[in-house]
Symmetry: C2
Subunit: 304 residues, 2 copies
C-alpha cells in the first residue's frame, strides 16, 4: 500500500466521525414506527436454486411458484445483459440483485489488487444498472484473501473512502453496492448488519447499501429483528437459507424460523427481495417448493 | 503472550461458533413482541452528576429529583462498601452499576497485564455483588492501551474465553460484567451494542452482560432502536448524555432525542437503569433538573 496515498486518504476522511455524529439524521428522528403494515414478500432465487436444465426451464419453474426475482452472479455479467433481458421479457420476474463476481478485494495491502476490485466492480455495476438490479453484493475481504490491511481505525477510515468512491460509481449507474456481512469463518472483517449499515452511513454516498443473510446472521447476530432495524434505510437485499446446514429453509426443521426477522422487515416496510442462496439435500423441486411455502406461511404469521 | 496458552485457549473455544450456531435459542424464538408495555424509567447518576459538596448532599439532591440509582466508580470500591451501604440506608436510591475502575486490559499482548485486569475486576466484582449492583462496566481495550493483540478471529476467540472466565466470577458474586461499546475514537475494538451482545452470547456465562451509551451510539449506531434490540436479554445498563457535546441531555437542543431508543427499551420491558455520564456547561442544579425532566417527557412520549 502506498503510504502517502494512505495518509492522504486518511486525512480526507478524518472528519468522518465528526460528520457522522453531527447531522444526527438517523438518531433524532424516530425509526419507522412498529405499526402494522403489509408489504408483500418478494422472493428471489439465485440461478442454481430452481430445478431445470436451462435458464428458461428454471424461469418457468420460478414463475409457476410466483417467484419474482432472479439473482445472477456478477461474473461475465456485461456479456449476459441482452440474453438475460430477452429471457425475462414478458415474465413477471425481475433481476433482484447481482451476487459478487468481482476480482481483487478492497482491503488488500496491494494497491493493484484493490484497483482490480474497483475496476471489476465498475464493470459489474454498469451491467447491474442496465438490468435494473437493486445492487451488486460486495464483501470487503474474505478471510482467505491475503495479505490484508490490519483491522485498525485507519483501515476502517480508508475503507469508508473506497466505499464512497464505489458508491458514487454505483449511483451513476442507478444501482448500489450492497455490503454483505458474513459469518466469522468466512469474513472476520464484517460480521454484522449494524456494522455494514454504519459503513454505509459513514461512506456518505447514495450508492452504498447493505444486506442481511439469515444464514450468516444465525451465527453472528443476537437478534434478527434488531439487526434488520439497524440496517434501516440501507437494507436493500436479504439472503435466506436453512439455519443449521445452509440448505433449503425447512430442511433443518424447527431451527428454520425467520419470523423475528420478517417482523422487522414488515415493520420497516422493506420493499426489497428475500433471495435464496443455499443447497439442498432432498429432491430439488420438492424442497424448493416446500421452502417457498414455509417462508410465505412465516411471513403471514409475522406481526410487524 | 504465551503461544501454548493461546493455542490451548483457542482450541478450547474453537467450538464456540458451532455452539453458538447450534441451539438457536435466540433465533428460533421471536424476540419480545413490540407490544405496549409501561416499564418505569429508572434514572441513575454517576457520582459527579449531582451538585453538592458531599455524597450526602448529592444523595439529598438526587432523592429530591426521584433519582433511583447511583453509579460509583470501581476504583477502591472494596474499601467503600460499608460507607456506601450506610449512606444509602433508608433512602430510595440503590447502586445501579459500577463504572470500570479496573487496571490492565483483556486484550493486552502481555499476559501479566491481562492478569492485572482479571485480578482487579475480581476485586471490584466482589464489592459490586455486596452492593447489589447490576454489574461492573468493562471495556476490552481502549485505543490508548498498547501493545494490544491484533484484531483477528483468533483474538476474538481468546477474548470470548477470557469473558467466560470473568463472567463466571461475576456470577459467583451474583453480579455481571457489563461490556461497554465505545465510539471509535476511544475504542475501535468494540463499537456497537450488537457486537457486545454477540460476545456475551459466545461467552456462554450467565455473568456476561452488555450496555449501550447514547453518547457513543450517536457516532456508531445507525439505529438506537435496532441496537438496543440486539442487546436483548444481555442489555443490563444504559448511559445517557447530550448527543453533540456529551453534556446534560437537553443542552444540545433538538439533537438530544432519545425517543427511538426509549421505544426499544419499553418494548423490551427493560428493567435496568438509564445512568447519567456527562458534563455540563451550565448551572449544574438547573441543567441536571432540566435533563431529568426532558428524559421523563421523552420516555412518556416513546411508544413501544
Amino acid at each position: 500500500m502506498d503510504r502517502k496515498d494512505f495518509l492522504v486518504k486518511t486525512a480526507v476522511c478524518g472528519a468522518a466521525w465528526a460528520v457522522a455524529a453531527s447531522p444526527l439524521k438517523l438518531f433524532g428522528a424516530p425509526a419507522p414506527a412498529a405499526k402494522a403494515k403489509s408489504p408483500e414478500l418478494k422472493l428471489s432465487f439465485q440461478e442454481g436454486i430452481a430445478p431445470g436444465d436451462s435458464l428458461e426451464a428454471k424461469l418457468d419453474f420460478m414463475e409457476n411458484l410466483g417467484i419474482q426475482g432472479l439473482e445472477p452472479g456478477g461474473g461475465g455479467l456485461a456479456s449476459r445483459v441482452s440474453d438475460l433481458t430477452a429471457k425475462l421479457s414478458g415474465r413477471n420476474i425481475k433481476i433482484s440483485a447481482i451476487c459478487a463476481g468481482f476480482s481483487g478485494f478492497l482491503l488488500a495491502e496491494d494497491a493493484a489488487v484493490r484497483k482490480q476490485c474497483i475496476d471489476s466492480m465498475t464493470e459489474i455495476l454498469a451491467a447491474a444498472g442496465e438490468l435494473g438490479a437493486a445492487g451488486v453484493i460486495l464483501v470487503p475481504a474474505f478471510n482467505s484473501q491475503k495479505p490484508v490491511l490490519p483491522h485498525t481505525p485507519e483501515t476502517r477510515a480508508f475503507l469508508v473512502e473506497e466505499l464512497h468512491e464505489l458508491g458514487e460509481i454505483a449511483a451513476k449507474y442507478h444501482t448500489t453496492v450492497i455490503l454483505e456481512p458474513l459469518n466469522r469463518r468466512e469474513a472476520h472483517y464484517l460480521r454484522q448488519v449494524a456494522d455494514a449499515a454504519s459503513l454505509c452511513r459513514d461512506a456518505q454516498s447514495a450508492g452504498m447499501a447493505c444486506m442481511g443473510d439469515f444464514w450468516h446472521m444465525t451465527a453472528e447476530e443476537t437478534s434478527d429483528y434488531g439487526a434488520f432495524f439497524s440496517g434501516g434505510p440501507y437494507l436493500k437485499h436479504v439472503h435466506v437459507a436453512s439455519r443449521r446446514n445452509r440448505i433449503m429453509p425447512g430442511e433443518d426443521g424447527e431451527a428454520d424460523n425467520y419470523i423475528d426477522g420478517f417482523r422487522a422487515l414488515k415493520a420497516m416496510n422493506y420493499d426489497g427481495y428475500v433471495s435464496f442462496e443455499c443447497g439442498t439435500r432432498g429432491n430439488r423441486a420438492e424442497t424448493v417448493t416446500a421452502a417457498v411455502n414455509l417462508l410465505r406461511k412465516q411471513w403471514a404469521e409475522a406481526k410487524a
